[in-house]
Symmetry: C2
Subunit: 314 residues, 2 copies
Amino acid sequence: MVILLTRTLPPGLREELDAIVPGARVVSEADLEADPSLVGRIEVCYAHLPSGLWDKATSLRWFQSSWAGMERLLAISEARHHPAVFTNARIHAAPISEHLWGMLLSLVRNLPLARDLQRRRRWDHEACEAGLSILQGKTLCVVGLGEIGSRCARIGRAFGMRVVGIRRDSSPHPDADEVVGPAERHRAFAAADVVMVVLPATDATRAFVGRAEFAAMRGSVFLNAGRCSTVDTDALVAALSSGAVRAAGLDVTDPEPLPRRHPLWRMPNVLITPHCAGKHAEYEERAARVFLDNLRRYTAGKPLEHVVNKEEGY
Amino acid sequence: MVILLTRTLPPGLREELDAIVPGARVVSEADLEADPSLVGRIEVCYAHLPSGLWDKATSLRWFQSSWAGMERLLAISEARHHPAVFTNARIHAAPISEHLWGMLLSLVRNLPLARDLQRRRRWDHEACEAGLSILQGKTLCVVGLGEIGSRCARIGRAFGMRVVGIRRDSSPHPDADEVVGPAERHRAFAAADVVMVVLPATDATRAFVGRAEFAAMRGSVFLNAGRCSTVDTDALVAALSSGAVRAAGLDVTDPEPLPRRHPLWRMPNVLITPHCAGKHAEYEERAARVFLDNLRRYTAGKPLEHVVNKEEGY
């Protein structure tokens, strides 16, 4: 078995790999450059296959990504139509939900203002109290009930919020008080105090939250840590101006990086982070563990976990 | 029945009060000044009795505070020894736990840095990624398992953390994986990634977290939204310098307000808020509702809720 590793495994994990597949030949991108004929012998690849090699990787049976989002890879026709099984690393639910809740709680607890005052060493009780709100008893609308959304719903319940989820089939969810389909999103947005968007980027989710959707909101706090294509940024700016959205926490923007002159930078009650919600110091190790767990299944002939549906795009 | 109201009830609630006790005479502080003889006829008081009046309020049977902390009131000997039943408003669990989690998530998700960069309109992925950590799978030590601590424990579980609680009787708790007594706190602190202090100010909790306790910590994130007397501030500063504490979120400090020259203002990884964790826009209404709910019980001869133990101080 030839395994292409394009990422160095964290300490200790390379030994685990060798123990799972004792006879495997593990090659790097440098090895491929030195011996291009290796490409046709790669059976397993982690975490990235250079885009020009997909039609040459004729023996590739399984590709494990170290990421969750697959839209860029699937935009490459040779990758999309390659017969190999694609699996992704759905390890973003924990960091992204922590990031989303961090942004939300920062906004409702006035923490950006507290930070500004701290820089000036000012203890200003009145300023920090102004506009403080509370989440308990309020309604959270989670747009997208995948792994991230499910986790956000569970956290919302722990904070004592009523949780309304939006997903395609509108089937019940254990951590949502109510689930509605996409067609009912305007009603859900109108009733929500907080709208949290964690949609993948697919054809079906493009501009899922646009002018009409923002117009339905009633002073809600809006958060997006999914993909920028799912939200109409101009409509968001207008909603912040009109008050339909009273505060926003954005880890993704359109375009990215956000240009220096973009109005979002300076809008009050907007918190921007540079698309880092999925990151954390232990990311590489956790992603590599997903690969090794799947490698155990692969060698045992068991079904792989986190298989990507290439048609649906995630 | 004479009821002293020292706070104007939010819209609609005065009508509720009148419906609960149709014949009551509701008086204000101004009325007491105009007719001092009224003091001796007060049976019920919400939310504050001027300190000089306790020994004159001979008919007072029930005092409802609009706050949770009772230590300042109980420091007044005439109040402490007054035979009236004291009840407090334990409505701080939701806002304080939201505030604590907001500070914690801000620190682990680098949000103060994101705020600084946003002011300069800088999209700096690398800077924001540096040092990001993750809570899922880590250990949270909640010091004090009252209403606030219980709520924080439940939220910790929803974030996928292992929760260790510290309380006097070390009895099990539904939202803690383990509960230990105060004597075992050093061991609990040594094993914790996050230490969250939500102790009331009593004689038993003074300097509960001091030099020896901070020395036991191993790079934990430390949060305090209880009372400043429970934590030795100089020891905290030393622990931040040594790395025993890697970040701190403080809503209470000793002294308060924190003096402009205090080193905590400028320490990296310290987030300070000016004792506002319990506040929010709906506070007055929720506190008044606690009073009205208790007033219904009082008039029906039922036991009041949130009765303060004057000996224990909360």
